[in-house]
C-alpha cells in the first residue's frame, strides 16, 4: 500500500474489518455522510450502508449503552467519539457497564466493542478538543487501551482492536492524523500491547506514545547531535503497559524519562515511574522523570504550546535525568 496519512490508515483498517466480519458496525456522531469530523469514516457509509455506519443521536452515553446492547445481540460495534472530552458523558456506561460485563457474567458475555477517541492537543482548537483522558480509563479494570503513533500501526491496531473479544479503547493522536507513513499490509508486526523500541540508545530511555512519538524521534535525533544516545520506546499499549520492554531498556540505560500530553499528576508516567523504580531500583542512576501537561485545565490554543511537551521540554527532562 502506498504511504497513507494516519487517519486514512485507520479508514483502511476499518474497511478491512468490515469486509472481514459482517457483525462489525460503526456508530457515532456525523460518521455517515460527513465521514466524521476528521473524515476517518469517509466513504464507509456509502459502501456499507446506513445499517453498518450509523449516525447516532447526539448522546455519548446512549451510543456506548446501545452498543453494549448490540454486543449482547452479537454485533461488534466500533464507536467514534467526536473529541476526547466528549467521552465524559459516556463515562458511567464505560466504567460501570462496558468494563465490567465480562466479569459480571463470569465470561458468559463478551464485550467486543471498540471506542475510538481522537485525543491530544496542538491543533488550535477551543476548550474540550485537546485533552488526553487515557489515564482515567486506564485506572479502571476491564478496559484495554491502545494508541498508535504511525500509519502502519494505525492500520493494524484498529483491526486487532476490533478482532479482540475484549473492550478496547483506541486513542487516536489527532494532530498526527495527517502524518503519512508506509503500511505493510502483509505483516502487522508487534501485537498491539507490546511496546516498540523505535530507536536504540544507551544513555537514557525515553518512553512516550501516540502524538509524542514523532516528537520523541526528533528529540532522539537532536540529542544524538549533542552526543546523548536516547533509546526511544513507543508504548503502543497503555493498558496493559509493556513494562518488560521498558525494564529491559532501563536496565541498560539506567535512566528513564516519560513524556505524555496528559497531566503529569497521576498520568501514566506516574505508574511507569513507580513500577520501573520497583523493578530497576538498583539500576537507576536517576529518578524517573516525567514531562507532561500541567495540573491546570488545558489552556486556550494561544497558550497550548506551553502546555504541550515539545522537543525542548523533553530534552530538558533528559538533561535533568543525565545530571544525576
Amino acid at each position: 500500500m502506498a504511504a497513507l496519512p494516519l487517519s486514512k490508515a485507520i479508514t483502511a483498517g476499518l474497511r478491512k474489518a468490515m469486509d472481514d466480519d459482517p457483525k462489525v458496525l460503526l456508530i457515532g456522531e456525523d460518521i455517515g455522510k460527513l465521514g466524521g469530523v476528521f473524515r476517518v469514516t469517509e466513504g464507509l457509509q456509502k459502501d456499507f450502508g446506513e445499517q453498518r455506519v450509523i449516525d447516532a443521536p447526539l448522546a455519548e452515553s446512549g451510543i456506548v449503552g446501545t452498543s453494549i446492547g448490540m454486543a449482547v445481540r452479537g454485533y461488534k460495534p466500533v464507536i467514534e467519539v467526536q473529541f476526547d472530552a466528549f467521552i465524559f458523558p459516556a463515562y458511567d456506561q464505560i466504567v460501570t457497564q462496558l468494563a465490567k460485563l465480562t466479569n459480571r457474567t463470569h465470561g458468559a458475555e463478551n464485550m467486543p466493542i471498540v471506542i475510538r477517541v481522537p485525543y491530544g492537543g496542538g491543533i488550535g482548537s477551543p476548550e474540550h478538543h485537546s485533552e488526553s483522558p487515557e489515564t482515567v480509563f486506564a485506572h479502571h479494570a476491564g478496559l484495554k487501551i491502545i494508541s498508535p503513533s504511525n500509519a502502519h500501526d494505525a492500520y493494524w491496531m484498529i483491526q486487532e482492536a476490533i478482532a479482540s473479544p475484549d473492550p478496547i479503547m483506541f486513542f487516536e493522536p489527532k494532530r498526527r492524523y495527517w502524518l503519512r507513513g508506509e503500511v505493510d499490509e502483509s505483516d502487522p508486526g508487534l501485537d498491539p500491547f507490546s511496546a516498540r523500541v523505535v530507536r536504540e540508545g544507551s544513555d537514557v530511555t525515553l518512553v512516550t506514545y501516540g502524538p509524542l512519538v514523532p516528537t520523541g524521534m526528533d528529540v532522539a535525533a537532536a540529542a544524538a547531535e549533542e552526543g546523548t544516545s536516547v533509546e526511544l520506546i513507543d508504548l503502543r499499549g497503555l493498558n496493559p503497559i509493556d513494562f518488560d520492554t521498558i525494564e529491559a531498556s532501563v536496565r541498560k540505560t539506567g535512566r528513564l524519562v516519560v513524556a505524555h500530553e496528559a497531566p503529569v499528576f497521576l498520568g501514566l508516567g506516574s505508574e511507569i515511574a513507580a513500577r520501573i523504580t520497583e523493578r530497576c531500583f538498583y539500576h537507576l542512576e536517576a529518578p524517573v522523570l516525567r514531562v507532561g501537561g500541567f495540573h491546570t485545565p488545558y489552556p486556550g490554543s494561544k497558550l497550548e504550546h506551553h502546555y504541550l511537551p515539545d522537543l525542548d521540554r523533553i530534552i530538558d527532562g533528559i538533561d535533568r535525568a543525565l545530571a544525576y
Partner: protein
C-alpha cells in the same frame, strides 16, 4: 395565554390519568374493550398457573428477607407487591425476547428460568451475576440505575438490524424489554434510551414498574405528570396499567409486546403498583412513609385479588391453594438449603474473567497474591 400554552398539560395533570384495570381488588372481572381478547385466551388453568407463580416468587422473596436477617445474604431487594406486574409481563413474553432487568426482577427471573438460588448467590456476595444472560435471554441484574434501558434499546436495534421484527413470524419476531423503576425515569440514560428507541424505531418495550417509591422518595419527587406520558415527546407512546391486576398486566403486556413485535416501534408500559416492603433489607420505610398508605395498598394485593377471582369465578378446588402453599414451602426449604450450603468461591475468581484474553498485570497480581497467601499456609505449616 395560558389556555393555549399549557392547556393539554394542565388537563393531563389535573384529571386522573387513565389506568387499565381488568380485575378489581375484590376479584371481579371488568371489561376492557380491546384488551379483553388477550384475557379471553387465558384458561382457568393459565390463571392458576399465574397464581402459583406469584405465590412461589413471593415465597422466594420472603426467604430472601429471612436469609438476609440470618446473615446469609449481604442484602435483599424485595419484590413484595410487584408479583402481578412481573409475572404478567414475564408470561406475556416469548422465548426469543430478551429482558434487561433491574435488581428487583425476581418474578421476571422466575419466568425466564433463572433459579432463585442464583439470585440469592448474587445478594450473598458470591459474585455479581452468576447466570448466562443468553441462556435465559435475561440479562444480568443491573444496579446502576437506568443503565440497562440503553442496553435493551441497543439489543432491540440489533433485532432490527437482523430483520427479526415485523416479519409476521411469531417465532422469529423479537422484542427486548427494558425494566426500570419510577425513580429511574429521572436518569439521563433512560431518556437517552427513549431517544434512541424513537430515532431507530427499535422494538423495545419500556417497562416501568412505578412502585410509588425510589427508596424514600415518592414518585412526585421525580415528576409532576404521570410517567406513562414520559415517552410521548420522544415518539414512544405509553400506557398505564394496574400493576396489581395480573389479568390486565398480562393482556396489556401481550398486546404491547405484539405491537412492538409487529414493527410498530417502541412503547412504554407503566405498571402502577406498590413496593409493599422495604426498598432493601437495609432500608427502614417507617422513616418516610405512612402506615396508612401501606394499608391502602394492602387492600389491592395482587395475589389476594387473583385468589378471590379464582374462588369466586372458577371452580378451583380448595386444595389447589393448599398445594401451592406446600410447593412454596418446599421451594423455600430448597433455596434455604442451597443458600446456606453455598461455598465461598475460590480467591482466584477475583482475577478470572476480567477479560477474555489474558492481561499481564492481572496475571502478575494473581501470582503475587496467591504466593502471598501460600506464604501463610507455609508458615502455618511450619508451626
Amino acid at each position: 395565554m395560558t389556555s393555549n400554552m399549557t392547556g393539554t398539560m394542565e388537563s393531563q395533570m389535573r384529571s386522573e390519568p387513565p389506568m387499565i384495570q381488568m380485575l378489581t381488588p375484590e376479584g371481579d372481572r371488568i371489561e376492557s374493550g380491546e384488551y379483553d381478547g388477550f384475557a379471553a385466551e387465558l384458561s382457568d388453568d393459565d390463571l392458576r398457573g399465574f397464581y402459583r407463580d406469584m405465590v412461589l416468587v413471593r415465597r422466594v422473596d420472603a426467604e430472601g428477607n429471612a436469609l438476609q436477617r440470618q446473615g446469609q445474604l449481604g442484602l435483599w431487594a424485595p419484590l413484595l407487591g410487584q408479583e402481578a406486574a412481573q409475572i404478567g409481563m414475564g408470561r406475556a413474553l416469548r422465548a426469543q425476547d430478551f429482558v434487561f432487568p433491574t435488581y428487583r426482577e425476581h418474578g421476571l427471573a422466575w419466568c425466564r428460568g433463572v433459579a432463585p438460588e442464583t439470585l440469592l448467590g448474587m445478594y450473598r456476595g458470591q459474585n455479581h451475576g452468576g447466570w448466562d444472560p443468553q441462556e435465559h435471554r435475561f440479562h444480568t441484574y443491573t444496579i446502576v440505575i437506568g443503565s440497562q434501558a440503553l442496553h435493551a434499546t441497543g439489543y432491540a436495534m440489533g433485532i432490527g438490524l437482523d430483520g427479526d421484527v415485523g416479519t409476521g413470524d411469531r417465532d422469529r419476531d423479537a422484542i427486548s424489554v427494558a425494566c426500570f423503576g419510577d425513580g429511574a425515569t429521572s436518569q439521563g440514560d433512560v431518556s437517552e434510551a427513549l431517544t434512541f428507541a424513537g430515532a431507530f424505531h427499535a422494538p423495545v418495550l419500556f417497562f416501568c414498574q412505578n412502585n410509588q417509591w425510589a427508596i424514600s422518595e415518592p414518585t412526585s419527587v421525580q415528576t409532576p405528570v404521570p410517567l406513562y406520558t414520559r415517552g410521548q415527546g420522544f415518539g414512544v407512546p405509553g400506557l398505564r396499567v394496574d400493576g396489581n391486576d395480573i389479568i390486565a398486566m398480562y393482556a396489556v403486556a401481550r398486546a404491547s409486546a405484539d405491537n412492538v413485535r409487529s414493527g410498530a416501534g417502541p412503547m412504554l408500559l407503566e405498571a402502577f403498583t406498590y413496593r409493599m416492603g422495604a426498598h432493601t433489607t437495609a432500608d427502614d420505610p417507617t422513616k418516610y412513609r405512612d402506615a396508612a398508605l401501606d394499608e391502602e395498598w394492602k387492600a389491592k394485593d395482587p395475589i389476594v385479588r387473583l385468589r378471590r377471582y379464582l374462588e369466586k369465578h372458577t371452580d378451583t378446588p380448595a386444595d389447589f391453594f393448599a398445594d401451592v402453599d406446600t410447593a412454596a414451602d418446599e421451594l423455600a426449604a430448597r433455596i434455604r438449603e442451597a443458600c446456606v450450603s453455598m461455598e465461598t468461591p475460590p480467591v482466584e475468581e477475583i482475577f478470572d474473567s476480567v477479560f477474555v484474553e489474558p492481561h499481564p498485570l492481572i496475571e502478575e497480581e494473581r501470582a503475587e497474591y496467591l504466593a502471598y497467601l501460600d506464604s501463610f499456609a507455609e508458615s502455618e505449616g511450619a508451626h
